[in-house]
């Protein structure tokens, strides 16, 4: 009964309260486009000064976990990805909510997020040491190949038009290169515009590409017509069968999420897209993707939340933050006199155990809080477009401007929204474009840096065993994609001649 004796009601009560506060703030800020986790944390940090270290950290982790999920709520209900990470959820979350069942779409998203969060927590508790040590052995040559693999995966599955998908990717890579080149210290492709010095604002890009262009598509037909949805379709519950059927996608997504979280320098923006590609690759029904496939919601959502546990892993064991959000939370550790790193487990084991336990509680708590709130959110989907469109537009403007108060970003988003219109109309691949934008810096920097470290020796990419495996995998995908393109074009030619 030792464990029970240790539980102090006061500690437990304040702990739960801090988690609840973190969850609510995280949900709200995550769902609002442009606000996101960083602003939630700047609001919560001053509060945390007066709290006990465990409560302070749990509150921030709860906000991180909830914000990582909440972006999907606005993606599904409004078509605005609340966070950059939530953009992949749009692909299937929107169609499912519109055409089938809004409740199911939100349900898949929530169940998957909780599942991903729990997998992340389990990895954190069980394997933190070996996993973070392994992650460190990966170097720039592997990062480069992993990034390339991510791109190749998109081209090979993009069914509509592989040639245009390739064009979208090349354009995305170019857009991703805009701004300061870290290796030479030179700004590139920025046309002397100071707002482009650090690259395009990702918020403006994602909002223009997805939210505004979705608003344009919502203008078709009579905008005053309400959406009639049977009330049982508004319930946010999944059956056992539905959960079991999407189990594979959930596991794939969580695995990718944890892995991306652990790798330092690979942003969490990538994990959702990679999970989406992988789930589509592994699915028995890839043709349903983009039309409301449950797996297309489950995989990226599980990945996003598994990233949280993944990113914490190298941070708590080695003191190296696995994501930008964790780097922000590390500020709270320092404020409370805790030194994240190998010494933490040695000097404050009880603190670490409390964090582990609290992390699991946070994830489960998120399920109940979000499910309650979602019964309100789901109503947005039966609102007629006439009201929804102006609301989406104004929310997008507020979000973009709040991020860094630049008019340039707003004009950029407006321009991008027109590009998105052309992309969607002419069968280009928005998914390929966005994935290329976020992968471009990783691909280019690690390729060049690997060469700098090797002093110009190209064999660096094949010498290491992990690199060799990655190259083989990529070759298979490229051959597969080429064969399919040729077959498709030949079929089209035959049809024309016939």
């Amino acid at each position: 009964m030792d464990l029970l004796a240790q539980i102090d009601l006061w500690v437990l009560g304040t702990g739960l309260l801090s988690i609840a506060l973190g969850l609510l703030v995280g949900l709200f800020f995550g769902a609002m486009p442009g606000l996101g986790l960083t602003i939630a944390i700047t609001l919560l940090l001053p509060l945390s000064y007066s709290m006990s270290p465990v409560n302070a950290i749990l509150m921030l982790l709860a906000a991180y976990q909830a914000a990582e999920y909440a972006g999907s709520i606005s993606a599904i209900t409004l078509g605005i990805p609340g966070t950059v990470m939530a953009a992949p959820i749009l692909q299937d979350g929107r169609p499912m909510a519109r055409n089938n069942s809004p409740g199911k779409a939100l349900g898949y998203s929530l169940y998957a997020s909780v599942f991903g969060g729990l997998v992340g927590a389990a990895m954190l508790i069980l394997f933190s040491q070996p996993l973070s040590r392994f992650a460190l052995t990966l170097g720039d040559s592997e990062f480069f190949l992993l990034g390339l693999l991510g791109l190749v995966a998109v081209t090979s599955f993009e069914a509509a038009d592989p040639l245009k998908a390739l064009i979208s990717i090349v354009l995305g890579l170019l857009v991703g290169l805009v701004g300061l080149d870290i290796i030479s210290g030179m700004p590139r492709l920025d046309f002397g515009i100071p707002q482009l010095f650090d690259g395009l604002s990702l918020i403006a890009l994602v909002v223009g590409l997805f939210a505004l262009s979705e608003a344009y598509f919502m203008m078709a037909g009579n905008m005053c017509a309400g959406h009639r949805v049977p009330s049982e379709n508004l319930r946010i519950t999944l059956t056992w069968r539905e959960m079991r059927d999407s189990g594979k996608a959930a596991i794939t997504g969580s695995g990718i999420g944890v892995a991306v979280g652990i790798l330092p320098g690979v942003g969490s923006t990538v994990s959702g897209w990679l999970a989406y590609s992988a789930a589509r690759k592994l699915s028995k029904t890839p043709e349903l993707f983009g039309k409301g496939s449950p797996d297309g919601i489950v995989a990226p959502d599980a990945a996003n939340n598994a990233t949280v546990g993944g990113a914490l892993l190298p941070f708590l064991t080695l003191g190296i933050p696995g994501s930008a959000a964790i780097a922000i939370i590390s500020g709270a550790f320092i404020i409370h006199g805790l030194q994240p790193g190998p010494l933490l487990a040695r000097n404050n084991p009880e603190f670490l155990n409390a964090i582990f336990l609290g992390f699991v509680v946070t994830t489960i708590g998120m399920f109940f809080v979000a499910r309650t709130l979602n019964t309100g959110f789901v109503r947005l989907l039966v609102t007629p477009n006439v009201v929804l469109v102006p609301f989406v537009i104004m929310l997008s403007i507020l979000g973009i401007f709040t991020f860094r108060a630049e008019f340039f970003d707003l004009w950029l988003a407006l321009g991008i929204s027109m590009l998105a219109l052309a992309f969607r109309k002419l069968d280009y691949s928005i998914v390929g474009f966005v994935l290329a934008v976020v992968l471009a810096p990783i691909i280019e920097t690690s390729f060049r840096r690997a060469l700098v470290i090797a002093d110009g020796d190209y064999t660096v990419f094949i010498q290491r065993p992990i690199s060799a495996v990655l190259i083989a995998g990529m070759a298979v995908l490229v051959v597969y994609a080429t064969l399919r393109t040729v077959r498709r074009d030949r079929a089209m030619l035959n049809k024309k001649e016939a």
Partner: protein, 149 residues
């Protein structure tokens, strides 16, 4: 304009974007110490864009195109884009975000509302709704986030 023409025009834009990329990257310095230099990727990708969009153009000419013609709601989309641009210009020049923001929301609501036949009740609710939303935004951004628009 035929769908095929639209396709070709967009491809021509992409092709020129590739050429511009190559052109603006010409002044970047060469790399040293094993580095391939900052220009290598932009130039290679720029030429790739030129080549691929050229290829796609030829394919469109040879195969015809699968692009669907027409864009549902094109008129409403064009008006919305222009309204947003006008709003941004006004805000940028005169400030007063909340006033112009109310104007944009209310205007769009009335404009879209024509689909269902406008009436006074709808107009009144639109005005109240836009004002309420902008008021909430003002409270939240000014007093919670300290962001002044």
């Amino acid at each position: 304009m035929s769908a095929r023409m639209v396709d070709l025009i967009f491809l021509a834009l992409l092709l020129s974007a590739g050429l511009v990329t190559v052109f603006v990257s010409r002044d970047l310095p060469p790399g040293f110490g094993g580095d391939i230099g900052p220009a290598a990727f932009p130039v290679a990708l720029g030429w790739a864009l030129v080549g691929l969009s050229g290829l796609a153009g030829l394919r469109t000419l040879a195969l015809g195109t699968s692009v669907k013609a027409g864009l549902p709601g094109a008129g409403k989309i064009a008006v919305t884009i222009m309204a947003m641009a006008a709003f941004l210009l006004l805000w940028q020049t005169f400030g007063r975000f909340y006033l112009f923001g109310f104007g944009l929301m209310f205007g769009l609501l009335l404009f879209y509302g024509r689909d269902g036949g406008l009436n006074w009740r709808f107009a009144l609710w639109s005005a109240l709704g836009s004002a309420g939303f902008m008021g909430l935004a003002w409270l939240f951004f000014t007093h919670v986030l300290y962001v002044r628009f």
